[in-house]
Symmetry: C2
Subunit: 358 residues, 2 copies
Amino acid sequence: MPAPATPHLAIDLERMQANIARVAEAATARGVALRPHAKTHKTIEIGRMQVAAGAHGLTVATVGEAEAFVAGGLDDLFVAYPIWVDADKAARLSTLAARGAAISIGIDSIAGVERLVHAGLAGRIAVRVEVDAGHHRSGCAPHDAGEVAAAAVRAGVEVEGVFAFPGHAYAPDARERAAREEADALTAAAAAMRAAGVPPTVISGGSTPSLAASLALDSPVTELRPGVSVFGDAQQWELGSADPAHIALTCHATVVSHAGGRLVLDAGSKVLGPDRAPWATGHGRLLDHPDARIVQLSEHHAVVELPGDLPALGSVVRVVPNHVCIAVNMVDDLEVYDRGDDTMPATRWRVAARGRNS
Amino acid sequence: MPAPATPHLAIDLERMQANIARVAEAATARGVALRPHAKTHKTIEIGRMQVAAGAHGLTVATVGEAEAFVAGGLDDLFVAYPIWVDADKAARLSTLAARGAAISIGIDSIAGVERLVHAGLAGRIAVRVEVDAGHHRSGCAPHDAGEVAAAAVRAGVEVEGVFAFPGHAYAPDARERAAREEADALTAAAAAMRAAGVPPTVISGGSTPSLAASLALDSPVTELRPGVSVFGDAQQWELGSADPAHIALTCHATVVSHAGGRLVLDAGSKVLGPDRAPWATGHGRLLDHPDARIVQLSEHHAVVELPGDLPALGSVVRVVPNHVCIAVNMVDDLEVYDRGDDTMPATRWRVAARGRNS
């Protein structure tokens, strides 16, 4: 096949496989289970590789992602989200359970438990109680986890355990503190659940930036759920949680202009994603030009400042998105390059769960 | 059909039609042509409405968008981008020309002209010279427009005119200045082209934030290319270039949690888009709660602070994305609500050009 048109998202297969193996080995060495978050890649082929490397199942963010992975034969799934079970979600979760899929969902309130029961899903869909470990998004307070878990058990709902997401690890010098706060919150929540007579079987945490710290800590976690670690991205690079030599997904982009003595690329926010954290140095990085900075990003233009000679008009450069989960969700296919060849993909994978927001 | 699952993007058809009519009337009153930028909606049905309301054709950003609109019967298209005509783009532009579509593309360098000629597209694809009017993205300097245009004509390429994009209008209190600078740049570029013996037929500018100022100015523009004006969004609301009463696209989202005494919605950056300009008050707005602020946005969570009683768990609220072009590009379909009914869509439109980045 001809080389795909730019811009396109390109996987370096050897690097990606090495990332999967490295994280799996680290989890095994620490004695915790892995349940990688598949929202990052949304791709059946990659989910299968993670399970083949020892993952106990996958994490997803929505019922739609669960449907896509079950259709691809990956049916041990935790939906790490406090789903409000309306008529639509009830019907779809029921269908997944009827297919024999092992599905658990997040829950952070007694009202949420009641919805599940009202929908007739008690005994068919398990839950894990979400607690807030300092990110201040969803999740009940750790000391309330016992009350929520007990309400579920009283209503006949299986409670697998407790989980948190240390999203506040996404800031400079915050990774160790977030991992510590997550361990403390999960310890408190597990104690509250034991006191309520519902001891957690699974104590789940983790994110990519906090991963190394969580593995090094004295923590009660029995399971970790990193997502981005499969690819790495510019955020992880700049936070220090991904070595650029391990980054496995880039956007191949063409130099279309030298206007103003800068580089203008045909990759913009509609393929890289518009994410830019306040602490990011720019709108993504250039893998082969670490001194370059993307100083402006439009929907189809990246404007790059870099020292020295500009790459020629028409040449192709590799851009590392700031947040790879958003970039992947913008494309239908991922081009897969193998054996260090970055000129011609070996194959193409469908982003099976792209756009599955509900 | 049942009400669609949340989150989903919802068009208020009456408002959208009023927006199309209002802009068309303003352009007619000023005596300029409209060529709306279809990258905002990427939808055939909406493009047809814009043409029916008097638009002289559509603007698109990529060859892929051009292909999608030509397939939908809209074949008078300007690709407002300095396309680097490689083998892939050459073949696809040639196919569009062979179908009889009237296609012009942007050009900002003599090297770019040479690519077009090398590809055998002289006489088949017209060009417009892009000039930088202060946004400092692509585009040559206005005084260089004559040189680029003359090189094109010498090579047998039809030069339709000149264009600019005043993207620096996207900042508080910048709209009038950006419109003025665009008018000055286009005046200078047109003079340079006349001096080079290539007088521009079309002098094209415009953006949604600068639209009112461009219409009020003494400007040489013969054509304007607003995109966002068809819907409006939170950026335009906060810049003062969209009345919230005219905003025609929202994301219907369900309240899934009251964690921490705040509202947590099931709409995150994978449907709203992660755009957040430094001057934005948050990650989007709530149409029916103008005092609310989205203080945190994850891929599937929006955390909202608002005064007074929180909307109930399970209720649906309408979120205005910061940047609607990105939101639309994340979904496959738009739900179309009519006659003020926001409970059940009248129809559904395909986002035909979604993801067409190349």
